[in-house]
């Protein structure tokens, strides 16, 4: 399949103590392992099984994902801004691939 492309929507600036909303999406077929292909055999499972969001090395939010999450998994969550810093978003694929995306946050 085409290489998975992560996308993140996060504010560039925020005030300390503000609760900001973060939206993430990664293109991925999320093959459940329960579906039969054209040949009548089960298509092997391949999903994104774990997502983590960190800010300056501290975990904000993480999800253990099961096959019931839709293709192109979308996640929206919040963070209370502790100060300026950098986000690291990580997606782990069943095949061992790890996709990461970083984003900086300024106080303003």
């Amino acid at each position: 399949m085409a290489k998975s492309k992560p996308r993140v929507k996060v504010p560039k600036t925020a005030a300390v103590g503000e609760v900001i909303t973060i939206k993430t999406l990664i293109s991925h077929k999320m093959e459940s392992g329960l579906r039969k292909g054209k040949d009548g055999n089960l298509v092997p499972r391949q999903i994104i099984n774990r997502f983590t969001a960190e800010f300056e090395g501290q975990q904000i939010f993480a999800v253990d994902i099961d096959p019931a999450i839709s293709a192109n998994p979308f996640l929206e969550f919040t963070m209370k801004v502790p100060g300026p810093g950098e986000f690291t978003f990580t997606w782990v694929d069943d095949d061992g691939s790890v996709y990461t995306k970083k984003s900086k946050l300024k106080i303003g």
Partner: protein, 149 residues
Amino acid sequence: MKLNRRQALALGAGALFVTLTPFRGGALASTADEEIKAFTGGATVMEDDIVSLTAPEIAENGNTVPIGVSVDSPMTSDNYVRRVRILADGNPRAAVATMHFSPLSGSAEANTRMRLAKTQNIIAIAELSDGTYHMAKAAVKVTIGGCGG
């Protein structure tokens, strides 16, 4: 070996019992219960207003059903939501996702999109930092199931 009438009847009844057994008691419903037990370790789950689960009443396409979870919590370092388990009791596998929150989350709110095979209940169970468990349920009617063919 020759069977007399009584033995033949017993054999038939036994075969019938074996065939029917897997379908008794709702094999699918029990997986959601098993997942709940695995998540809580058998602790009491309170069905109260702390957790709210938003899902559409009718989902036209079971492949992407938007759902949202929100837990009423101050999200401070001594009182926050640790985890939220999402389950779907009518899917081939009940497990959907486990969300891990932290005091840095600011609020215990998250949205995602999930698959639903058929009309069923979605269940969200929150584990708070004080060790209590709270549950919310939402029924969703599904027009086209989302598990492929």
